[in-house]
């Protein structure tokens, strides 16, 4: 996804979930900031480098692909951009080595998504923004993994775009080229992608690099043969998926605001934990979680339900949202911005990466945590640690180890 969805659409979703204009802007800013908070940026402002939520192209070209390098890459990309859908997925007659990569494939409504949203509950608006970025990307980046892997992320020549021409669906082959400076050509269906590298762990095989930015366009409908798919084709309908992403963001933010307390029809599940783990068993239905989770003894836990969407918002604004999502354009920021301004009646300022830098740089050592970027850093480290820990707990070493340090939440 791009700035149009992570910043402007997230603003709209936050406002519709009940946040004020100012709060929505902070959430949207944090959601977009996830795509910009690189080690280079953190080094520039003197912030802890382990809070990086993305890697610049330049950093990726330098990234090591030994075990430590791979774990570092996976921690960043799996935690923030390609949240694994099922860390315990099964596939017959596959080697353990293969399955460790296969289980990192991103997708919506997984257990880790629920944990991501729960992890942001009662935390700062910055943490909420981070969670919304992760949630939205589970829809855009599904079927790709946040770790370099040829056997998972490679795409072949069988890649067609599905176009609506006079009400009929027409197929057009997508042409990929490796020309980083050239803009994607929507008219002729020519997109920039990463070079083919036969090395399993080459950085070129990270995420959807082999399909370029194409999966990030909200209008894109395509069919292709994923490397992991046993020669079966997959059809991806971005407008439909992005619509669900939007409705799920509204639902998740209502949950985070405490508007979906148990008792309401679409509430989360509440449980007082024994400290030895809690079992959550929801009513049968799509997206319900069944499993056990470790918690703090005596704590009041509210579990986020996956597979739920804010239908009210879709009933009211569905047509408008679909209109923006299906419009063929490189970036839909203007349309989302207009929609956001109509909703709130306020001007939605453009994203400015330097907005909070000075505040952080000028803060005292003790005061840094209370700044906007300081709170973002806490949220980022918390999210990264949680995902690392879950991946490690599943017996998968691709994200390495993590160690928990409990600190008082800043709110």
């Amino acid at each position: 996804m791009q700035e149009d969805f992570h910043y402007y659409a997230t603003y709209c979703a936050a406002y519709l979930a009940g946040y004020s204009h100012e709060e929505s802007l902070e959430i949207a800013y944090s959601a977009q900031f996830v795509d910009l908070c690189s080690r280079t940026f953190l080094s520039k402002i003197g912030a802890p480098l382990n809070a990086a939520t993305t890697q610049l192209q330049l950093e990726m070209m330098d990234a090591r692909t030994d075990i430590i390098g791979l774990q570092d890459i996976t921690r960043i990309w799996a935690a923030f951009h390609f949240l694994p859908q099922d860390l315990y997925a099964q596939k017959p007659r596959r080697s353990k080595r293969y399955m460790q990569k296969y289980r990192l494939i991103c997708g919506p409504n997984g257990d880790l998504l629920a944990k991501t949203v729960e992890n942001a509950r009662g935390k700062s608006l910055q943490h909420v923004g981070i969670a919304m970025h992760v949630l939205a990307d589970t829809w855009a980046h599904r079927y790709f993994a946040g770790t370099p892997s040829l056997v998972i992320n490679n795409t072949e020549h069988d890649f067609v775009e599905l176009l609506d021409v006079d009400g009929e669906q027409v197929e057009r082959p997508v042409k990929f080229r490796h020309s980083p400076t050239a803009a994607d050509d929507l008219e002729n269906g020519i997109y920039t992608n990463s070079l083919f590298q036969g090395n399993e762990n080459s950085i070129m095989n990270l995420g959807h690099g082999r399909a370029g930015h194409f999966p990030d366009y909200s209008f894109a409908k395509y069919r292709y043969m994923p490397a992991w798919g046993d020669y079966q084709e997959i059809e991806k309908d971005n407008p439909a998926d992005y619509e669900k992403a939007f409705a799920q963001m509204v639902y998740a933010m209502k949950f985070l605001r405490g508007e979906l307390e148990p008792g309401a029809s679409s509430a989360g599940v509440e449980n007082i934990c024994s400290g030895r783990g809690a079992e959550v068993r929801g009513a049968a239905g799509e997206g319900e979680r069944i499993g056990s989770y470790s918690c703090i003894q005596g704590a009041r836990c509210v579990f986020f339900r996956t597979g739920k969407y804010d239908e009210e918002v879709l009933d009211k604004y569905g047509a408008r949202i679909r209109e923006i999502l299906t419009k063929r354009q490189l970036i839909a920021s203007d349309d989302w911005k207009r929609f956001g301004e109509e909703l709130s009646g306020h001007t939605v300022e453009d994203f400015d990466i330097e907005k909070y830098q000075e505040q952080y740089v000028n803060a005292t050592k003790d005061g840094k945590d209370k700044t906007f970027i300081g709170k973002f850093i806490r949220g980022a480290i918390s999210q990264k640690g949680m995902v690392t820990e879950e991946i490690h707990k599943s017996g998968n070493m691709h994200a390495g180890f993590s160690k928990l340090k409990r600190v008082r939440a800043l709110g």
């Binding site: 080690r39 280079t40 940026f41 080094s43 520039k44 382990n50 610049l56 330049l58 070209m61 330098d62 030994d66 075990i67 430590i68 774990q71 921690r75 596959r94 080697s95 080595r97 293969y98 990569k101 992890n119 040829l150 056997v151 490679n154 072949e156 036969g198 399993e200 043969m225 994923p226 490397a227 992991w228 798919g229 046993d230 020669y231 806490r378 480290i381 918390s382 990264k384 640690g385 949680m386 690392t388 820990e389 070493m397 390495g400 180890f401 993590s402 160690k403 928990l404 340090k405 409990r406 600190v407």
Partner: protein
């Protein structure tokens, strides 16, 4: 990293240091050793490609290509191991091109990193300069054919030290809740 991974790095690094020591102190004997290493390098690549095919790539769409590449590399390995006399000049030119190219790339990346505002570009710049110096040495000392041995040996020492340092690095991610 697991203890096994750390141990592997440590043992690998130590062996590389020992081999580099032999190369640097006995340059005349070790020229053939370099050819042997190149051949073994191909052989290891071939075996790992075939291993990769049987454990990973055979489940992948279009994965057969890895199998063919593995077989071709095995052929290269056998060919290189069977060569007994390659003019040393070619080895030096090969090293000069490799180091020159990586040096220029490193310097360009260091420049890009500096333009992006990071303060961590100096090590990259030094790497780039060292690589360019090595490339120039290969050309300047082309008549002294032991140069290849020294450059190869120094490269091994560097890689060995990197491995050993990595084995002791703290890799646990500390997170907060």
């Amino acid at each position: 990293m697991t203890r096994f991974q750390r141990g592997k790095l440590l043992v690998g690094g130590t062996i590389m240091l020992a081999v580099a020591g032999v190369m640097l102190f006995l340059p005349n004997v070790t020229y053939n050793l370099i050819m042997l290493f190149l051949g073994l390098g191909f052989l290891v690549s071939a075996v790992s490609m075939l291993w990769y095919y049987f454990t990973m790539a055979r489940y992948m769409v279009g994965g057969k290509m890895t199998l063919y590449k593995g077989i071709i590399f095995a052929d290269f390995a056998l060919l290189t191991l069977s060569l007994t006399d390659v003019p040393r000049l070619y080895i030096l030119l090969y090293l000069a091109v490799i180091h020159g190219f990586s040096g220029i790339i490193e310097i360009l990346r260091a420049r890009e990193a500096r333009l992006n505002g990071t303060k961590r570009f100096k090590l990259k710049l030094i790497h780039g300069i060292v690589n360019v110096v090595i490339a120039l040495s290969c050309i300047i000392f082309v008549k002294n054919t032991n140069t290849a041995v020294f450059i190869y040996g120094i490269g091994l020492v560097y890689s060995a030290l990197c491995k050993i340092t990595t084995a002791f690095r703290r890799t646990t991610f500390i997170y907060i809740q």
